[in-house]
Amino acid sequence: MKNKTRLAKMIILISPILMIITTILSVIYGTKGISFSTIWEAFTAYDEGNTDHAIIITSRLPRVLTAMLVGAFLAVSGAIMQGMTRNYLASPSIMGVTDGSAFVITICMIVLPNMTSIEMILFSMVGSALGAGIVYGFGSLIPKGLTPVRLAIIGTVIGTFLSSTSAALASYFQISQDVSFWYNAKLHQVDVDTFLLAIPFGVIGLIIALITSGHITILSLGEEIAVTLGQKTKWVKALALLAVICLTGTAVALVGKVGFVGLIIPHIARFLVGVDYRWLIPSSAIIGAIFLAVCDIISRFVNHPFETPIGVVTALIGVPFFLYLIYKRGGEKHA
């Protein structure tokens, strides 16, 4: 246990260095190569006329920062969901939360064509809540519906339904092109204003997550145990859910549906730092941030010179991991 805590502390300590390295790599590599010294100049002596400087400040830097934030949000959101529901398959993309966000955003684009970035973030959160609500509501209606396997099945199927409906609506109202922008999760079109607006919402989510992390550890032992230990489980659950909604909603509003980050990162973090959520949540955030930023770099090279949607990269990495989880823990025995 002690070793694991030490490992967690180490991850948190060296994370700034890793993040800076990832950021630099992400800024350097791209369709147009940029040298390290140019980056340095862009920060120390910014020259508006210099194209390279402009690329760094207005395109590459926001992009890598968005990737990191979204990675952290999704990973933390997945970690909370897994802890709260004691379900090793819980994650925003499997439980229909991201599909819910995308669904509500699609509807809003039809009803309110001129919505502002902040409205979009808020509606995206409403959508997260809606998606999670439908899936869990349905799960609790049917016998054994809240077991990991069943809930995952319900989540995926409802997710399919929401995204089919969104696709139908989008094509009926002829906004497919605008909407496919979310579905395909193209990080390179990130809007700097939305990004700046999204930060506070996400940070609120992260803070709630960190505050409740100790309680989630207790909750993850089982609801009865938590109650016996004197925990007000309703409050903890409500707060944790709020955090999930803030984090996932913001992530979807920023880059769209990116699968598997919220599923695999918490497992990796748990393997490294153990089951204490006070350490698990920050570590998930860090690993998630670096993971998504690296996926973003990979996405520029798998099909050079064209970019591949980042969702494709995370899926190609995430699916084998998912299969591994099914192989190790799937089946009715753990259901």
């Binding site: 396997v149 409802i158 696709a167 139908a168 064209f306 190609l316 699916v319 099914i326």
Partner: protein, 335 residues
């Protein structure tokens, strides 16, 4: 027996009626005498020939054939896995066949005319390879102690369909834009670019495989018993199961290569058929095929006409009906 024949007749009439409605109704309305005149070459006009023979009729025929194939294949898969929630789309077999066909399109683009004879005839064979690969993965992850574990079966399906989906997306991005268009339309399940060559490419598969499956239908009745009892009757269970699965994957590949990824037909049709004609697969198989036919023809009509001026992929319409049905089955399942 008499009941089955009666139901088959009623279904056939329904299919003919929906095919007729689909034939006459559309952007250009055609009336009854026009149809008769054109079909029997009494007073042919170029415009009506174009509308009926080049646009509407191939589409209806393909919809009917695909529905028939998927309905029968779905029955076989549900029978062999002894799982009422199994469907070739949910299990990822469609996605596997799809990915293989997209790979085929990538390697032979430019060398072969993709809408030409040879390549259309070869496509189902590639689909078969991909479908078999998916089946092997499913088998590896969900076969335990001689049975398929329901939870693992569907989870593995979810995993591999998103994996193969991402792969198809990645590969189709490498193509030149016109092939990409074709691949993209095709992945979401659509029959709008139907033509007679596709129909001819499907027919041999249906004509050879369906009688083989119906001849083996008594085995599906036996599989309802435990494997030990079937072995006691003298059936080499594993070998026969593998044969049946390969036959049905062949059928699926032929369907998928023309229509793309259409899920849920293989789920719904067998259930409805069982409700209508009871438990004998000899009767269930043809009825399930007819129901699949009816579903696809109606869904394609909806996809084509309800959302005018745009057309939806038929796969989306079907999944909007299929998901609630799936959830209903999940609720009904007593466990």
């Amino acid at each position: 027996m008499r009941k089955t024949v009666l139901i088959a007749i009623v279904l056939s009439i329904l299919i003919l009626v929906s095919a007729y409605v689909s034939l006459v109704y559309g952007v250009i309305n055609v009336n009854f005498t026009d149809v008769i005149n054109t079909l029997f070459r009494i007073d042919p006009s170029d415009q009506l020939d174009l509308v009926i023979f080049d646009f509407r009729l191939p589409r209806i025929v393909i919809g009917a054939l695909v529905g028939f194939g998927l309905g029968i294949a779905g029955t076989v898969i549900q029978g062999v896995t002894r799982n009422g929630l199994a469907d070739s789309g949910i299990l990822g077999i469609n996605a596997g066949a799809g990915a293989a066909i997209v790979i085929f399109m990538l390697f032979f683009q430019g060398q072969l005319d993709l809408t030409g004879w040879l390549s259309i005839m070869i496509m189902p064979i590639f689909g078969l390879i991909g479908g078999l690969l998916a089946a092997v993965i499913i088998f590896f992850f969900s076969w335990q102690k001689g049975t398929f574990d329901t939870g693992r079966l569907i989870l593995t399906g979810i995993a591999i369909s998103s994996g193969f989906g991402a792969l198809s997306m990645y590969i189709s991005l490498k193509m030149n834009s016109s092939d990409y268009e074709m691949a993209a339309v095709w992945v979401s399940g659509s029959i709008y670019n139907a033509n007679w060559i596709y129909i001819i490419s499907m027919i041999p598969w249906l004509v050879i495989l369906i009688p083989l499956i119906i001849r083996k239908s008594y085995l599906l009745d036996l599989f309802r018993l435990s494997d030990i009892s079937s072995k006691g009757v003298g059936v080499p269970v594993e070998r026969e199961k593998i044969k049946l699965i390969i036959l049905s994957i062949g059928l699926i590949s032929a369907c998928v290569s023309v229509s793309g990824n259409i899920s849920f037909i293989g789920l719904m049709a067998p259930h409805i058929a069982r409700q209508l004609v009871g438990m004998k697969h000899q009767f269930i198989l043809p009825i399930s095929g007819l129901i699949g036919m009816l579903l696809v023809v109606i869904a394609d009509f909806v996809a084509k006409n309800v959302f005018t001026p745009v057309e939806l992929p038929v796969g989306i319409v079907i999944s909007m009906i299929g998901v609630p049905y799936f959830l209903y089955l999940l609720v009904k399942q007593k466990r």
